[in-house]
């Protein structure tokens, strides 16, 4: 399905203990585009996205089978730390480092990556906050605690924190599920901008959101990939009966 993408998933299965959460999934995520993964709760969409930066395997008794090719290299075969520096992630609930300032939250990845001059870090922090559409709101108080921001601002801070590491792929695991409609709208318009620079993969339980932001959409059900294609096709001309039932709200 969908030839050579930036990130190519091949026959991927992921397990929690003996339970298989996703089963033999193959699909490609195209470069500099937004791809959405939709499906009802428990369909494995979060598990799938957590495999793409090898976060799944940090939990106890988990296992992954198959291949995940990033620019043709299987990320399951290389150092996961290097993978995560190329594939950033934003989580369901904003999770800024609670003891750190806004500035320190954004610059933390640069401090991991070793030597950067004060100037370089300053520039990266400003660039990332601008890309996350947060700069204008915080430019006068970057030393304020991260927790002094609102929920929506915190989530954009987490996006800035991920972008500061200059990843190539940005994973977003239901990034708006804890936010109000106004904050959600901001994140959505941000996602549309980010695809000019990054390959964005977003998990959402909200079909309208997938329709608004994604170029391609994958529908997962019970751990299996049911259908994947251009978002418009999937919503307007679904090939599978199951997809049609889901998008018309007959289950899920």
């Amino acid at each position: 399905m969908m030839g050579s993408g930036k990130l190519q998933v091949e026959h991927l299965s992921a397990y929690y203990g003996k339970r298989r959460a996703i089963e033999d999934i193959s699909l490609g995520f195209p470069e500099k585009a937004v791809s959405a993964i939709i499906g009802p709760s428990g369909c494995g969409k979060s598990t799938l996205i957590r495999c793409l930066n090898r976060l799944h395997e940090t939990l106890p008794r988990t296992r992954v089978e198959g291949r995940i090719l990033l620019d043709g290299t299987d990320i399951l075969e290389v150092d996961p730390i290097q993978v995560r520096r190329r594939v950033g992630m934003v989580f369901q609930r904003p999770n800024p480092f609670v003891t750190m300032s806004i500035y320190d939250n954004v610059s933390v990845a640069l401090r991991f990556n070793g030597r950067h001059s004060r100037d370089e870090i300053d520039r990266a922090v400003i660039r990332s906050l601008q890309q996350a559409a947060l700069w204008e709101e915080v430019k006068d108080r970057v030393d304020a605690p991260a927790m002094s921001l609102s929920g929506g601002q915190q989530q954009r801070l987490c996006i800035a924190r991920a972008l500061a590491a200059e990843p190539e792929v940005l994973l977003m695991d239901e990034p708006c599920s804890a936010l109000d409609p106004v904050a959600t709208a901001k994140i959505e318009s941000l996602v549309k901008d980010l695809k000019n620079t990054y390959t964005v993969i977003i998990v959402t339980h909200n079909m309208q959101q997938a329709g608004r932001v994604a170029d391609h959409t994958a529908f997962l059900y019970l751990g299996k990939l049911v259908e994947y294609g251009p978002t418009e096709d999937l919503f307007e001309r679904p090939k599978e009966k199951l997809t049609e039932q889901y998008i018309t709200g007959r289950f899920g």
């Binding site: 995560r84 609930r93 605690p145």
Partner: protein
């Protein structure tokens, strides 16, 4: 709102309930007041019994450097110094070991090993202090005298901290015994607070490409710092007040330690050694005065810790648990 809905008849409580609640209230209030009474009872005895020494020396007792029973000259500095020095050694050695093991147990150790290893560390807390004293007296002390202290004297003697004869019953040995005794306190509570760091915080760091050390340093320790700090203060409290093990290993000499190899005395060991066979009312009273100072030091440490913690948390907006 329609007032009739407010005055709708509620079932009246049965008489038994009222009495039950009254008895319950009286019982818990009594327990609370009794505990507060105990604090005052102890403090007032210390104050009245130290009166004689206080009248003789006043606050000069706090800066008196001599404790000479035969000339009836009493000053508290040797014991304050001994107490602070041994506690400082205990924290200097015990804190890194305790934090290291707490981090190991929450992040690096294989999962199946975490429970058993944690229990072993907590077992250290269950060993009676007289057993630590015995171990210090018959094993650690001689080993310090024959092996560790000669090496320290040779390599670090020039600093002055390790001068004098190596005896093995000295401030250093007592400090090391205290270090071992504070480890379980600090490690157990630190481990719990580290284990309580939300997965979301850890995953935030992991997803940025952090190494294990970077995850620990950025996501775990800062989040758990107030718990770690509280654990350290509890450990310090144990070190300040520990009596039996110190009495058996410190050498019991009523003078200001001039090196880590000096025999010394802490306030607690002074009380244990000299209270029951004090030579007269003034010495007895001076010892109680020293006990009052120990109480004050402990209180001060606690209050200072709370203030510091409160400031740190207020400045950075961290969590308070």
């Amino acid at each position: 709102m329609d007032p009739s809905t407010l005055s709708s008849p509620l079932p009246r409580p049965r008489k038994g309930h009222v009495w039950g609640d009254r008895i319950f209230g009286v019982l818990v209030a009594g327990a609370g007041l009794f505990v507060i009474f105990l604090v005052f009872a102890i403090a007032s005895i210390l104050i009245t019994q130290s009166r004689l020494a206080f009248d003789s020396y006043g606050l000069a007792f706090l800066i008196g450097t001599r404790w000479d029973v035969s000339h009836e000259v009493y000053g508290a500095v040797p014991f304050i110094a001994g107490t602070l020095l041994t506690s400082a050694i205990a924290l200097a050695i015990g804190f890194p070991l305790a934090i290291g093991s707490a981090i190991f147990l929450t992040t690096e150790a294989p999962r199946w090993l975490r429970g058993p290893l944690g229990s072993v560390i907590e077992l250290l807390a269950a060993i009676p202090s007289v057993v630590y004293g015995f171990w210090g007296l018959y094993f650690l002390g001689p080993y310090m005298r024959t092996t560790v202290e000669p090496i320290l004297a040779k390599s670090l003697g020039w600093t002055g901290a390790f001068s004098g004869a190596a005896t093995g019953t000295d401030v250093l040995t007592a400090g090391i015994i205290l270090a071992i005794m504070v480890i379980p306190t600090i490690a157990a509570i630190s481990r719990e607070t580290l284990a309580a760091v939300p997965v979301a915080q850890r995953e935030a760091a992991i997803s940025l490409g952090a190494t294990n050390w970077e995850v620990t340093r950025t996501a775990m320790v800062p989040y758990a710092r107030s718990g770690i700090f509280g654990a350290t203060i509890l450990g310090l409290g144990r070190a300040l007040g520990e009596t039996m093990a110190v009495t058996m290993t410190i050498g019991n000499h009523d003078a200001i330690p001039t090196s880590l190899f000096s025999q010394g005395q802490t306030i607690a060991s002074l009380i244990a050694n000299e209270l029951t066979n004090s030579s007269g009312p003034l010495q007895y009273s001076a010892i109680i005065y020293a006990a009052l100072i120990l109480l004050a030091i402990s209180l001060l440490v606690n209050v200072a810790a709370r203030l510091l913690l409160w400031r740190v948390l207020r400045v950075t907006g961290g969590t308070t648990e």
